[in-house]
Point group: C2
Chain length 415, copies 2
């Protein structure tokens, strides 16, 4: 079953809002084993909407629209779809009652347009709107399906999950399962090369890498008649990927991100972590505390942006700061140690370095970063060179540095 | 000039990522007076990409693509576009040098795929990638334009603003100038109502509000033959907006964001700030230190996630924590005071509250937040109710809380 998503709304074409509906629908459809072949956005213009719908219906088995079901003159999705199929609109009494119940039954002439929402193409099925007034539409005709959903994300999600999904499950009869392997500190091109044969030769399951901010995830997706069959297809592939990439570079499967993997690892070991940040300025602690329930494993972070604070609060020795400067492995180590000591945590992690754009020298250029870690048994630091000379790379350097610090802790916990 | 945006990437069709590129490009193009007629998303599939590009080129004057310029086998945008125009790909030496400079010049055979990125259609112009390796492409042929941008949002934005906009301005024959008024803590619907007449009646300059994460910016854009003419058109409009919205709700013009406005304000007064974070877990200090040069005004942040740390490091009294709990104005005040005292800064700001999803009660629900501030003259806190009952609103609550803390400091500095 091939599907095209058509989102209708001039506000999307103006960039006033981000199209989260398309992402939501795509994700949910993928999980149902339904392929989204295309997403299209058109404005509230009947000519262009008609062209988009005709095309989408021609090339796909199903079209799912969002938007254009409201009461105003520029809400034209139902009208346009009905005209394509040569259908009239007729009032749906259950929808009319629902609208009257919400808005009140004394609809004067001025509010007649609200009732416009209750009209649906003849022979179509209304989809109830538990989160608003405009009903959706489910229409099967000439071997094609069209599902029309409202534009406001809350109403759309609510209607899709409650009323469209049961219909889709019935239609598709297939299940999709996917698992994601999370890799850190290996470039996308290296992974691509290593997995090339797999990626190009397999069709079910499929293997797809995706790179973002210094991390790569590899998603393995299988379609099957049921979940356990799909799992059985995926498992050996995941095993192969782990062998090819190397376990030391993989921080988890289906863990979402580094901070979630770290919090999970800490919880499972009953351990706590604390942070001492210079370069990353709070980003490491922000990422850890982003994870619900992180308060179990995290009590304290020190953002020591100046040398005075590094010395006074974290106890980095003045000698270290003078001899090696704040941009050094020695400082990173003493910061991590200080973070652990001050909080009584099991692990301390730290960051220091030069994020730029200013402050770099030939010996200590922008992007020179040290991440440190301290446990009861071991205190060490890792040097990184993250400066690529990009424009505005300050944020990127800070983000990748924070990822390295989190990964350092994950690796230490796995030992 | 009619434009279609074609975003390429299977990850978009799977709903793995939200298509922020389409929104960004649409907004920027609208500001340039260029109409976006359609947005299309296709996967990394040459047949469907070719169909989408052919169609888009047929119906529009210009097509802007994002994605599919990378080094892997499924990056096929340039190849597909070149084949449509009957062009060969040839290596662009400047792009090759750029890539070698970033990746290193000793590219062995194994890394040959990286160089794949340096190939562009014959006769096309490369667009430099200041934020990554893959160059973009500007191609004019048979009366049509195609601009190919990379998929990663950071690289795409950077290339679009630095190299595509100047070309678009040249093509359109006009100069565009825009200024942005930054508003905090006033709802979008309130602003829309107040500016409605302005927004709907003006065509040049245009007035467009844009809401995101609890902030609203109003962008005023003028097209003219030259910059000074455009400035003269904009200035009175900005003045009107300030009057209508009220200066107390405006934290700056063209300042980018709250943290930049705060750092600027602190620098101009020669003052320093420090942070004590519970709820926001480092997000406030992260945002401050995001600003280049923030080390002049920021030395120290304490992320005190547990009550023990609030007491031991920040000096919040045990009595306060017992009597009022950690989720209270009293705790927020003592935290802000502690942050200021510990660091010797002029201003301390703090956050505490319940981000959820767990931990809320009837009296202290998820979204109950206190932001505190302490200066030499004054220490106080503000209560916020940020919980809307949305799904997954933890990040949003933390973000808006951090914005309120930053804004509190800006307002204090402006007094």
């Amino acid at each position: 079953m091939n599907v095209e998503i058509v989102c209708v709304g001039t506000e999307l074409l103006l960039g006033d809002i981000v199209n989260t509906n398309a992402a939501f629908l795509s994700r949910e459809l993928a999980a149902l084993g339904i392929n989204v072949y295309r997403q299209t956005v058109v404005g509230d213009n009947s000519e262009r909407l008609e062209a988009a719908l005709r095309e989408a219906l021609e090339k796909n088995d199903m079209v799912i629209t969002s938007g254009g079901l409201g009461p105003t003159y520029d809400d034209i999705t139902k009208e346009t779809a009905a005209s394509i199929f040569g259908l009239d609109l007729e009032i749906d009494e259950s929808s009319k009652e629902h609208i009257e119940k919400i808005v009140g039954t004394n609809l004067g002439k001025s509010e007649i347009s609200i009732i416009k929402q209750a009209y649906i193409p003849k022979g179509a099925e209304p989809l109830k709107n538990d989160c608003g007034t405009a009903p959706g539409v489910f229409l099967e005709k000439d071997g094609k399906y069209i599902i029309m959903l409202p534009g406001p994300p809350r109403e759309m999600k609510c209607m899709f999950m409650n009323y469209a999904v049961p219909k889709l499950v019935k239609i598709s009869g297939k299940t999709m399962v996917s698992h994601t392997v999370h890799i850190f500190d290996v470039g996308e091109s290296v992974i691509e090369k290593k997995l090339h044969k797999m990626m190009t030769s397999m069709t079910n399951p499929t293997v797809a890498p995706y790179a973002k901010d210094g991390e790569v995830t590899v998603r393995v997706t299988a379609y099957a008649d049921n979940n356990s069959e799909a799992e059985n297809m995926i498992n050996p592939v995941i095993k192969d990927i782990k062998e090819i990439i190397g376990l030391e570079n993989i921080y988890g499967t289906d863990v979402g991100n580094l901070q979630t993997a770290l919090v999970r690892e800490l919880k499972s070991k009953g351990m706590k972590i604390s942070t001492a940040e210079s370069l990353t300025g709070g980003l490491i602690s922000k990422r850890i505390t982003e994870v619900p329930g992180s308060s179990e494993v995290f009590e304290c972070g020190i953002c020591s942006y100046s040398n005075r604070i590094k010395n006074e609060i974290l106890g980095v020795s003045k000698k270290t700061l003078e001899t090696y400067t704040e941009y050094s492995a020695e400082t990173a180590k003493e910061m991590a140690l200080g973070a652990r000591k001050i909080s009584g945590a099991d692990i301390g992690i730290s960051s220091t370095g030069i994020a730029g754009p200013d402050g770099g020298t030939k010996e200590k250029p922008v992007g020179l970063v040290y991440v440190g870690i301290s446990t009861e048994n071991n205190t060490y630091a890792k040097e990184l060179r993250l400066g690529k000379g990009f424009d505005n790379e300050r944020d990127l350097i800070r983000y990748i540095a924070s990822s390295h610090a989190l990964n350092l802790a994950i690796n230490e916990l796995k030992k």
